[in-house]
Symmetry: C2
Subunit: 229 residues, 2 copies
DNA sequence: CGCGGCTTTGATGTTCATCAAGTAAAGTGG
DNA sequence: CCACTTTACTTGATGAACATCAAAGCCGCG
């Protein structure tokens, strides 16, 4: 992790996130801000940590997870910038309820929570903006979970592949940012069956696999499996 | 459904929900408010409806659900007052994303959304309060879904029984407010297997069942099944 | 180089969905 | 209010989907 300064004028999040902040206020907030970099696999937030900072993703890809009583991890969702994943507990709890881990090189901007809270208390539009974002994020999580719940193993794997292809990488060829075990933790199945299903898709020439590199050959069929299989 | 006037001074939600509203503003809002009653099974909100009103539950019990592409319903969660279930989309979308249906006699208070939005825009603390509530609701939904996901059929049924016993009715004896099919829609299993598992619990003398009346006889064992079974 | 974690495949048994068929309960129209 | 229809509930039999156990190859890292 390294710290660098950040020019907020160029920040791609500014327009959406700080649309209600006047320029001079923005400059002030900018001075208090620190950027932090996390490499693949590094923990950004640990479930149970006290919330003292306000984080948002500038770049990268992370997973949101929780450890069950039996010690097993469950992955709740993945997030790229604009999903503002750490927001979920930030105004409603003193502790984080989920862990956030980088699954690709990730850059995070950090403000002291007190600064943001003070600002929020006098700027209802800003809070409404954040609230709208939080609602969107959680709606997506809930919707995704329902979709996974109603599908069988094959449909779930197809769903995950299409998620990374269509939503994250916008490309039929990509490198899976997570392990087979993590896919299993996400869709609630065993690692072995995740592998078996991927192999089956390969044999059926729906995808090509070389290690973590995935190429979707027959997207039509994959979509059909995701919806009905 | 019938309309009656409502004395906001006595409203049990007031302290939590409107803690940031001054008394004279409250009186004003009170005049604009309407109460509506729904009987068991009646639809309160239909997925896709335009959001023109601001609703909150005064009394009762509801289910939150969504219809999948295949036409099958999935139940997301249940809510009693203070859970403010309809809030989920209210500030972030123009349409409801879920359906809300009364599963017990339910009373709802209704305000025009524009009135609340105008008020919110000038009262950051009020918005922060609502946001904290929304976060809590969604955290609970996500947590619950994860718990159900990691459990097997028996554990899921035990989970549901304990949910109604401990959280909703606070009593070891209660009347199930939902059908076997709805339990299946909630935990993502078939109706037949829900019934089979309930019958098994009855045979093992963990519960007693007469129609919809449930009596939990061996709560210790039920908890153990919920956690490890 | 060896250890641990990730990946892969196979064999086996359990869990669960599906199909079928019947009873009970609840709503509907004459 | 009773016949009729529909919906909810229940149990059993069967096969498919999936977890578990086992074993081996692979890769990266200290």
């Amino acid at each position: 992790m390294g710290n660098t300064t950040c020019n907020c004028q160029d920040c791609q999040l500014k327009d959406i996130f700080f649309s209600n902040i006047k320029t001079d206020e923005l400059l002030n907030i900018c001075d208090l801000k620190v950027e932090k970099q996390y490499s693949k696999g590094e923990s950004i937030i640990q479930e149970g940590d006290l919330i003292t900072e306000f984080l948002y993703m500038k770049e990268g890809l992370v997973k949101l997870s929780k450890t069950a009583i039996n010690g097993k991890d469950q992955i709740i969702s993945f997030s790229k910038p604009f999903d503002f994943v750490s927001l979920l507990s930030v105004f409603s709890s003193s502790q984080y309820k989920y862990s956030v881990t980088a699954i690709e090189e990730t850059t995070v901007c950090i403000l002291q929570l007190s600064v943001v809270k003070n600002f929020a208390q006098e700027n209802a539009l800003f809070v409404m903006d954040i609230m709208a974002h939080i609602s969107e994020i959680t709606d997506n999580i809930i919707h995704d979970n329902l979709e996974i719940k109603r599908k069988h193993l094959k449909g779930r794997i197809a769903h995950v592949l299409l998620y990374f292809s269509d939503y994250i990488y916008k490309n039929d060829e990509f490198e899976l940012p997570i392990s087979r075990r993590e896919i299993a933790e996400y869709i609630g199945m065993t690692t072995e069956n995740v592998i078996r299903t991927l192999s089956e898709f390969r044999k059926d020439e729906i995808i090509k696999i070389v290690g973590k590199d995935i190429l979707i050959v027959d997207k039509k069929r994959l979509k059909s499996i995701s919806e009905f299989g």
